[in-house]
């Protein structure tokens, strides 16, 4: 049963809480939002982070991810049979790239996750809708120095989207 006394005590408790908030936080009226999920490059958390750490990964700022997750990512690359890849980077170098999950973007040149048709090859300067990021990642993990090792694992043979993209804003295709 809700009595006036209970209501009063609730009010007092709330006011105390509000006061204590005010003391510790000069902007007591602000509404805050707490992090739930984050993503930079495709599939990083999905492929490289263990089940026990997936939620933790999503709330670890990129600047702190290398310290927290690089040993786990390096071990996973080793387990995948990783050898120096087509970008000529070693396990340690690849780990240092992967362990900070941000998308590197060029504001001066071509933007692509990987585009071998340009000279020099464009790598990690953005992510276009049409970029076959899965084949790129499979090749970087399994393809070895020439990209030709484990050919049964370096392409899923799905090479594009099931709907054409638009050439102008908003670029993404209409929903099915």
């Amino acid at each position: 049963m809700i009595t006036p006394v209970k209501i009063f005590s609730v009010i007092i408790t709330c006011s105390l809480f509000a006061i204590s908030c005010k003391k510790s936080d000069k902007n007591s009226n602000a509404v805050y939002y707490q992090q739930q999920d984050q993503a930079g490059r495709p599939a990083l958390n999905t492929v490289f982070i263990s089940a026990a750490n997936k939620d933790k990964f999503n709330v670890t700022p990129p600047s702190e991810q290398n310290a927290a997750f690089s040993s786990e990512i390096s071990a996973k690359l080793t387990a995948f049979g990783f050898t120096t890849n087509i970008l000529e980077i070693t396990n340690a170098q690849f780990t240092s790239v992967l362990a900070t999950d941000v998308l590197n973007v060029s504001t001066t040149g071509e933007t692509a996750f990987y585009d071998p048709t340009t000279s020099p090859v464009t790598a990690l300067t953005g992510r276009r809708l049409q970029d076959d990021v899965i084949d790129v990642e499979l090749t970087l993990i399994f393809g070895g120095i020439n990209g030709s090792s484990n050919p049964q694992l370096t392409s899923d043979h799905v090479n594009g989207n099931d709907k054409p993209f638009l050439s102008s804003f908003p670029y993404l295709a209409a929903p099915f």
Partner: protein, 219 residues
């Protein structure tokens, strides 16, 4: 081919045991966000049709069937936030915040602006710089243009493509490789998308940015 013998047991042990069921890209990547309005599917950043502009795409709520797309909604309590580092320390120098207002069915954009709070907690920063009515399923895309910023919000085809099912079979050692042609697991599915296009000059860039997408829940 000499790798083949140890590769599959290694794959099976490592991924199957530690990762559980695998999804793809960032779709349903972690237990706390799967099947929530906070679940990010993909981030895309690329030069616009006008090469002076950069386009940022934040997709959430993946694997929506056509039948469930009309009912899909943005969440007033979930902030979708593009984080931009232009000094290469992987700490955000600018944020572009996308906040849905249910009463007006509008997506409001804040920024790009230097945030007063960095890291895992945010508040809305400054004033609305652009806004757009959320496009209804089946309608032509509504485009908001203000302050040099273009914005779209609403359902779109999921641009991600991957033969996820065959990948799962490889992981489970019931297949030795991909099929040719493969089958796109994401064919015919939709996402809830926010697209922001703005002049590169608004991002204080010396040529290189690090960008990541976050979802944050009201506390």
């Amino acid at each position: 081919m000499k790798h083949k013998k140890f590769l599959f047991p290694a794959l099976t042990t490592v991924i199957l045991v530690t990762a559980g069921i695998l999804y793809a890209s960032d779709h349903a990547d972690a237990p706390a966000v799967t099947n929530t309005t906070s679940d990010i599917t993909d981030l895309y950043v690329f030069a616009g049709q006008d090469a002076n502009n950069l386009v940022l795409v934040g997709n959430t709520q993946g694997l929506l069937s056509p039948g469930s797309t009309a009912a899909a909604k943005f969440d007033e309590n979930t902030l979708i936030e593009f984080n931009i580092d232009n000094t290469n320390d992987n700490i955000e120098d600018l944020v572009i915040q996308c906040k849905y207002d249910a009463a007006t069915n509008t997506m409001n954009i804040y920024g790009p602006v230097a945030p007063s709070e960095k890291g895992t907690r945010s508040k809305l920063e400054g004033n609305v710089t652009a806004s757009v009515a959320v496009t209804a399923y089946g309608s032509a895309p509504a485009i908001g243009t203000q302050n040099g910023i273009k914005v779209f919000a609403g359902p779109r085809d999921d641009p991600f493509f991957f033969d996820l099912d065959q990948f799962k079979k490889i992981i489970a050692s019931t297949a030795s490789g991909f099929n040719n042609p493969g089958t796109d697991h994401f064919a015919g599915t939709n996402v809830m998308s926010v697209v922001v296009e703005l002049p590169k000059s608004m991002l204080n860039s010396s040529g290189k940015l690090n960008v990541w997408l976050e979802t944050k829940k009201k506390i």
